[in-house]
Protein backbone atom coordinates (compact mmCIF):
# COMPACT_ATOMS: atom_id res chain seq x y z
CA UNK A 1 0.00 0.00 0.00
CA UNK A 2 1.38 3.35 -0.96
CA UNK A 3 2.27 5.78 1.74
CA UNK A 4 -0.10 8.72 2.17
CA UNK A 5 2.71 11.13 1.61
CA UNK A 6 3.50 9.81 -1.89
CA UNK A 7 2.23 12.28 -4.47
CA UNK A 8 1.34 11.15 -7.96
CA UNK A 9 2.22 13.76 -10.58
CA UNK A 10 1.08 13.24 -14.12
CA UNK A 11 3.60 14.24 -16.72
CA UNK A 12 2.27 17.50 -18.11
CA UNK A 13 4.88 17.94 -20.82
CA UNK A 14 3.21 15.90 -23.64
CA UNK A 15 -0.09 17.62 -22.91
CA UNK A 16 1.54 21.00 -23.05
CA UNK A 17 3.23 20.05 -26.32
CA UNK A 18 -0.09 19.03 -27.82
CA UNK A 19 -1.84 22.17 -26.66
CA UNK A 20 0.97 24.29 -28.04
CA UNK A 21 0.69 22.54 -31.40
CA UNK A 22 -3.06 23.19 -31.49
CA UNK A 23 -2.50 26.77 -30.45
CA UNK A 24 0.02 27.32 -33.23
CA UNK A 25 -2.41 25.88 -35.76
CA UNK A 26 -5.25 28.16 -34.74
CA UNK A 27 -2.99 31.20 -34.55
CA UNK A 28 -1.73 30.58 -38.06
CA UNK A 29 -5.24 30.05 -39.40
CA UNK A 30 -6.68 33.07 -37.61
CA UNK A 31 -8.10 35.66 -39.92
CA UNK A 32 -7.89 39.14 -38.48
CA UNK A 33 -7.49 41.02 -41.73
CA UNK A 34 -10.54 43.08 -40.97
CA UNK A 35 -13.71 44.06 -42.63
CA UNK A 36 -12.28 44.35 -46.11
CA UNK A 37 -12.33 40.59 -46.39
CA UNK A 38 -15.05 39.92 -43.86
CA UNK A 39 -17.22 37.15 -45.23
CA UNK A 40 -20.22 38.51 -43.31
CA UNK A 41 -20.19 41.72 -45.37
CA UNK A 42 -20.07 40.10 -48.78
CA UNK A 43 -20.41 36.56 -49.99
CA UNK A 44 -18.27 36.36 -53.07
CA UNK A 45 -19.49 34.38 -56.07
CA UNK A 46 -17.63 31.25 -57.10
CA UNK A 47 -15.49 31.35 -60.17
CA UNK A 48 -13.63 28.65 -62.03
CA UNK A 49 -11.35 31.11 -63.77
CA UNK A 50 -10.20 33.14 -60.76
CA UNK A 51 -6.46 32.95 -60.25
CA UNK A 52 -4.60 32.99 -56.92
CA UNK A 53 -3.99 36.40 -55.46
CA UNK A 54 -1.05 38.45 -56.59
CA UNK A 55 0.96 39.11 -53.44
CA UNK A 56 2.93 41.89 -55.13
CA UNK A 57 0.04 44.30 -55.11
CA UNK A 58 1.13 47.76 -54.08
CA UNK A 59 -1.29 50.32 -52.80
CA UNK A 60 -4.77 48.87 -52.81
CA UNK A 61 -8.28 49.98 -51.96
CA UNK A 62 -10.90 47.39 -51.13
CA UNK A 63 -14.36 48.36 -52.32
CA UNK A 64 -17.03 46.02 -51.05
CA UNK A 65 -20.52 46.01 -52.51
CA UNK A 66 -23.00 44.19 -50.32
CA UNK A 67 -26.22 42.44 -51.22
CA UNK A 68 -28.19 45.64 -50.63
CA UNK A 69 -26.02 47.36 -53.25
CA UNK A 70 -24.36 49.54 -50.63
CA UNK A 71 -20.67 50.30 -50.79
CA UNK A 72 -18.72 49.24 -47.72
CA UNK A 73 -15.24 50.63 -47.17
CA UNK A 74 -12.93 49.44 -44.42
CA UNK A 75 -13.85 50.97 -41.08
CA UNK A 76 -16.88 52.80 -42.42
CA UNK A 77 -20.60 52.21 -42.38
CA UNK A 78 -22.35 51.05 -45.56
CA UNK A 79 -22.89 53.99 -47.86
CA UNK A 80 -24.93 54.89 -50.89
CA UNK A 81 -23.40 55.57 -54.30
CA UNK A 82 -23.63 59.31 -53.70
CA UNK A 83 -21.80 58.99 -50.39
CA UNK A 84 -19.18 56.76 -52.02
CA UNK A 85 -18.63 59.34 -54.73
CA UNK A 86 -18.17 62.04 -52.09
CA UNK A 87 -15.69 59.80 -50.25
CA UNK A 88 -13.81 59.09 -53.45
CA UNK A 89 -13.66 62.69 -54.64
CA UNK A 90 -12.96 64.42 -51.35
CA UNK A 91 -10.91 61.93 -49.37
CA UNK A 92 -9.60 58.86 -51.18
CA UNK A 93 -8.68 60.37 -54.55
CA UNK A 94 -6.56 63.31 -53.30
CA UNK A 95 -4.61 61.07 -50.91
CA UNK A 96 -3.94 58.26 -53.39
CA UNK A 97 -0.34 57.84 -54.62
CA UNK A 98 0.18 59.08 -58.17
CA UNK A 99 2.88 58.74 -60.79
CA UNK A 100 4.59 61.65 -62.53
CA UNK A 101 1.78 62.03 -65.00
CA UNK A 102 -0.86 62.21 -62.28
CA UNK A 103 -2.20 58.72 -62.76
CA UNK A 104 -3.39 57.07 -59.58
CA UNK A 105 -1.37 53.99 -58.76
CA UNK A 106 -3.86 52.52 -56.33
CA UNK A 107 -5.47 49.27 -57.43
CA UNK A 108 -9.20 49.10 -56.82
CA UNK A 109 -10.12 45.65 -55.58
CA UNK A 110 -13.80 45.08 -56.04
CA UNK A 111 -15.40 42.60 -53.65
CA UNK A 112 -19.00 42.34 -54.70
CA UNK A 113 -21.60 40.11 -53.16
CA UNK A 114 -22.96 37.36 -55.38
CA UNK A 115 -26.39 38.92 -54.99
CA UNK A 116 -25.37 42.49 -55.79
CA UNK A 117 -26.80 44.05 -58.92
CA UNK A 118 -24.60 44.53 -61.97
CA UNK A 119 -25.85 48.12 -62.19
CA UNK A 120 -24.34 48.97 -58.80
CA UNK A 121 -21.03 47.39 -59.69
CA UNK A 122 -20.93 49.26 -62.95
CA UNK A 123 -21.61 52.50 -61.09
CA UNK A 124 -18.74 51.80 -58.68
CA UNK A 125 -16.36 51.13 -61.57
CA UNK A 126 -17.54 54.24 -63.37
CA UNK A 127 -17.07 56.44 -60.32
CA UNK A 128 -13.57 55.07 -59.76
CA UNK A 129 -12.64 55.59 -63.36
CA UNK A 130 -13.95 59.14 -63.29
CA UNK A 131 -11.48 59.78 -60.47
CA UNK A 132 -8.65 58.46 -62.67
CA UNK A 133 -8.19 55.09 -61.04
CA UNK A 134 -6.68 52.82 -63.64
CA UNK A 135 -6.11 49.45 -62.08
CA UNK A 136 -8.97 47.18 -61.20
CA UNK A 137 -9.42 43.60 -60.16
CA UNK A 138 -12.29 41.69 -58.67
CA UNK A 139 -12.13 39.13 -55.91
CA UNK A 140 -13.99 35.84 -56.25
CA UNK A 141 -14.02 32.53 -54.47
CA UNK A 142 -12.01 29.96 -56.33
CA UNK A 143 -14.49 27.23 -57.18
CA UNK A 144 -14.09 24.03 -55.20
CA UNK A 145 -12.61 25.59 -52.07
Amino acid sequence: MAAASDDTHGDMTPMLDLVMQLLMYFILCANFLGQEIDSTVVKLPDSASAVPLDKREGDILFVNVNEKNQVVLFGKDPMTMAEFEYELVDRIGPRAPKDDTGRILTTIILRADAGADYGSIFQVLTLCKKQHFRYFSTRLNIKGT
Partner: protein, 171 residues
Protein backbone atom coordinates in the same frame (compact mmCIF):
# COMPACT_ATOMS: atom_id res chain seq x y z
CA UNK B 1 31.10 30.26 -6.53
CA UNK B 2 28.58 29.22 -3.95
CA UNK B 3 25.76 29.76 -6.48
CA UNK B 4 27.41 27.45 -8.99
CA UNK B 5 27.69 24.81 -6.37
CA UNK B 6 24.02 25.25 -5.58
CA UNK B 7 22.96 24.62 -9.19
CA UNK B 8 25.14 21.59 -9.47
CA UNK B 9 23.76 20.08 -6.35
CA UNK B 10 21.70 17.02 -7.33
CA UNK B 11 19.66 17.26 -4.19
CA UNK B 12 18.05 20.51 -5.27
CA UNK B 13 15.34 19.93 -7.84
CA UNK B 14 13.82 22.73 -9.85
CA UNK B 15 10.10 22.56 -9.98
CA UNK B 16 8.87 24.71 -12.85
CA UNK B 17 5.17 25.42 -12.34
CA UNK B 18 3.59 24.04 -15.49
CA UNK B 19 -0.03 24.44 -14.40
CA UNK B 20 -0.35 28.24 -14.82
CA UNK B 21 1.33 28.01 -18.20
CA UNK B 22 -1.04 25.25 -19.24
CA UNK B 23 -4.02 27.27 -18.00
CA UNK B 24 -2.90 30.29 -19.96
CA UNK B 25 -2.27 28.22 -23.06
CA UNK B 26 -5.75 26.73 -22.84
CA UNK B 27 -7.22 30.20 -22.59
CA UNK B 28 -5.42 31.22 -25.74
CA UNK B 29 -6.42 28.01 -27.46
CA UNK B 30 -10.10 28.54 -26.70
CA UNK B 31 -9.87 32.12 -27.90
CA UNK B 32 -8.44 31.14 -31.26
CA UNK B 33 -10.81 28.18 -31.60
CA UNK B 34 -13.82 30.43 -31.08
CA UNK B 35 -12.58 32.88 -33.70
CA UNK B 36 -11.56 30.13 -36.10
CA UNK B 37 -13.24 30.97 -39.35
CA UNK B 38 -11.70 29.23 -42.31
CA UNK B 39 -12.78 31.22 -45.33
CA UNK B 40 -12.93 29.99 -48.88
CA UNK B 41 -9.81 30.58 -50.91
CA UNK B 42 -10.07 33.89 -52.68
CA UNK B 43 -8.85 34.46 -56.18
CA UNK B 44 -8.99 37.37 -58.51
CA UNK B 45 -9.76 38.33 -62.06
CA UNK B 46 -8.15 41.36 -63.60
CA UNK B 47 -10.70 43.64 -65.15
CA UNK B 48 -9.87 45.31 -68.37
CA UNK B 49 -10.67 48.98 -68.07
CA UNK B 50 -8.01 50.61 -70.21
CA UNK B 51 -7.06 54.23 -69.98
CA UNK B 52 -8.78 56.46 -72.53
CA UNK B 53 -5.49 57.00 -74.33
CA UNK B 54 -4.94 53.24 -74.65
CA UNK B 55 -8.44 52.80 -75.98
CA UNK B 56 -7.89 55.59 -78.43
CA UNK B 57 -4.63 54.01 -79.58
CA UNK B 58 -6.36 50.74 -80.30
CA UNK B 59 -9.14 52.56 -82.09
CA UNK B 60 -6.55 54.43 -84.19
CA UNK B 61 -8.50 57.60 -83.68
CA UNK B 62 -7.21 60.80 -82.07
CA UNK B 63 -8.24 61.21 -78.43
CA UNK B 64 -10.87 63.84 -77.96
CA UNK B 65 -11.11 66.20 -75.06
CA UNK B 66 -14.17 64.41 -73.75
CA UNK B 67 -12.59 60.98 -73.55
CA UNK B 68 -9.48 62.21 -71.81
CA UNK B 69 -11.25 62.36 -68.52
CA UNK B 70 -14.69 61.15 -67.67
CA UNK B 71 -15.21 58.46 -70.18
CA UNK B 72 -17.38 55.44 -69.44
CA UNK B 73 -15.52 52.14 -69.17
CA UNK B 74 -15.50 50.80 -72.70
CA UNK B 75 -13.43 48.55 -74.89
CA UNK B 76 -12.74 48.32 -78.56
CA UNK B 77 -14.07 44.80 -78.52
CA UNK B 78 -15.46 43.12 -81.61
CA UNK B 79 -17.93 41.15 -79.54
CA UNK B 80 -20.39 42.35 -76.93
CA UNK B 81 -22.24 39.81 -74.86
CA UNK B 82 -25.71 41.09 -74.07
CA UNK B 83 -27.31 39.66 -70.93
CA UNK B 84 -30.93 40.21 -70.04
CA UNK B 85 -32.84 39.36 -66.90
CA UNK B 86 -36.47 39.30 -65.89
CA UNK B 87 -37.97 40.73 -62.79
CA UNK B 88 -41.03 38.54 -62.73
CA UNK B 89 -40.76 37.56 -59.08
CA UNK B 90 -39.35 34.08 -59.60
CA UNK B 91 -36.41 34.73 -61.91
CA UNK B 92 -35.16 37.94 -60.40
CA UNK B 93 -31.58 38.59 -61.30
CA UNK B 94 -30.81 35.44 -63.23
CA UNK B 95 -30.03 35.34 -66.92
CA UNK B 96 -33.09 35.10 -69.12
CA UNK B 97 -31.47 35.84 -72.46
CA UNK B 98 -27.94 35.77 -73.85
CA UNK B 99 -26.95 37.10 -77.20
CA UNK B 100 -23.72 38.17 -78.83
CA UNK B 101 -23.54 41.46 -80.68
CA UNK B 102 -20.99 41.60 -83.45
CA UNK B 103 -20.52 43.49 -86.70
CA UNK B 104 -22.71 40.97 -88.43
CA UNK B 105 -25.59 41.52 -86.02
CA UNK B 106 -27.15 40.14 -82.90
CA UNK B 107 -26.96 36.37 -82.40
CA UNK B 108 -28.94 34.68 -79.60
CA UNK B 109 -26.90 31.85 -78.10
CA UNK B 110 -29.40 30.42 -75.64
CA UNK B 111 -27.30 29.55 -72.65
CA UNK B 112 -23.73 29.46 -71.37
CA UNK B 113 -22.86 26.34 -73.36
CA UNK B 114 -24.18 28.02 -76.49
CA UNK B 115 -22.09 31.08 -75.68
CA UNK B 116 -18.97 28.95 -75.24
CA UNK B 117 -19.65 27.24 -78.57
CA UNK B 118 -20.15 30.59 -80.29
CA UNK B 119 -16.89 31.97 -78.93
CA UNK B 120 -14.95 28.87 -79.96
CA UNK B 121 -16.37 28.99 -83.48
CA UNK B 122 -15.99 32.71 -84.05
CA UNK B 123 -12.81 33.68 -82.25
CA UNK B 124 -10.56 33.04 -85.22
CA UNK B 125 -12.56 35.44 -87.40
CA UNK B 126 -12.24 38.40 -85.02
CA UNK B 127 -9.92 41.35 -85.55
CA UNK B 128 -9.60 41.82 -81.80
CA UNK B 129 -9.15 38.35 -80.38
CA UNK B 130 -8.26 39.60 -76.92
CA UNK B 131 -11.11 41.74 -75.70
CA UNK B 132 -14.76 41.13 -75.11
CA UNK B 133 -17.40 43.32 -73.55
CA UNK B 134 -20.24 42.33 -71.28
CA UNK B 135 -23.35 44.45 -71.32
CA UNK B 136 -25.93 43.36 -68.79
CA UNK B 137 -29.19 44.63 -67.37
CA UNK B 138 -28.64 46.61 -64.22
CA UNK B 139 -30.75 44.19 -62.16
CA UNK B 140 -28.75 41.13 -63.19
CA UNK B 141 -27.03 39.60 -60.18
CA UNK B 142 -23.26 39.64 -60.01
CA UNK B 143 -22.94 35.84 -59.74
CA UNK B 144 -24.63 35.51 -63.14
CA UNK B 145 -22.19 37.99 -64.65
CA UNK B 146 -19.32 36.00 -63.12
CA UNK B 147 -20.60 32.83 -64.81
CA UNK B 148 -20.37 34.59 -68.16
CA UNK B 149 -16.95 35.99 -67.23
CA UNK B 150 -15.79 32.43 -66.55
CA UNK B 151 -16.79 31.33 -70.03
CA UNK B 152 -15.03 34.32 -71.60
CA UNK B 153 -11.85 33.84 -69.55
CA UNK B 154 -11.79 30.16 -70.44
CA UNK B 155 -11.78 31.12 -74.12
CA UNK B 156 -8.94 33.55 -73.52
CA UNK B 157 -10.70 36.92 -73.58
CA UNK B 158 -10.02 39.93 -71.41
CA UNK B 159 -13.26 41.25 -70.04
CA UNK B 160 -14.64 44.75 -70.08
CA UNK B 161 -17.98 46.07 -68.98
CA UNK B 162 -20.53 48.05 -70.88
CA UNK B 163 -23.17 50.36 -69.50
CA UNK B 164 -26.46 48.66 -68.64
CA UNK B 165 -29.03 49.84 -71.17
CA UNK B 166 -31.54 50.51 -68.40
CA UNK B 167 -29.16 52.57 -66.30
CA UNK B 168 -28.36 56.23 -66.72
CA UNK B 169 -25.07 57.28 -65.16
CA UNK B 170 -24.43 60.96 -64.74
CA UNK B 171 -21.50 62.10 -66.87
Amino acid sequence: MSKKRKFDDPDIAFNLPITPMLDFTFQLLFFFMIYYNPSALEGQIEMNLPAPSETAKKDSSPPSASNQNDEMPSLPADLTIVLRTQNDGSNNGIISHISVKSRSGDTPVGNLDGLRQYLIENKTTLDNKDDIKIEADSKLKWFAVVQVMDVCKKEGFKIGFGQPPDLTVAP
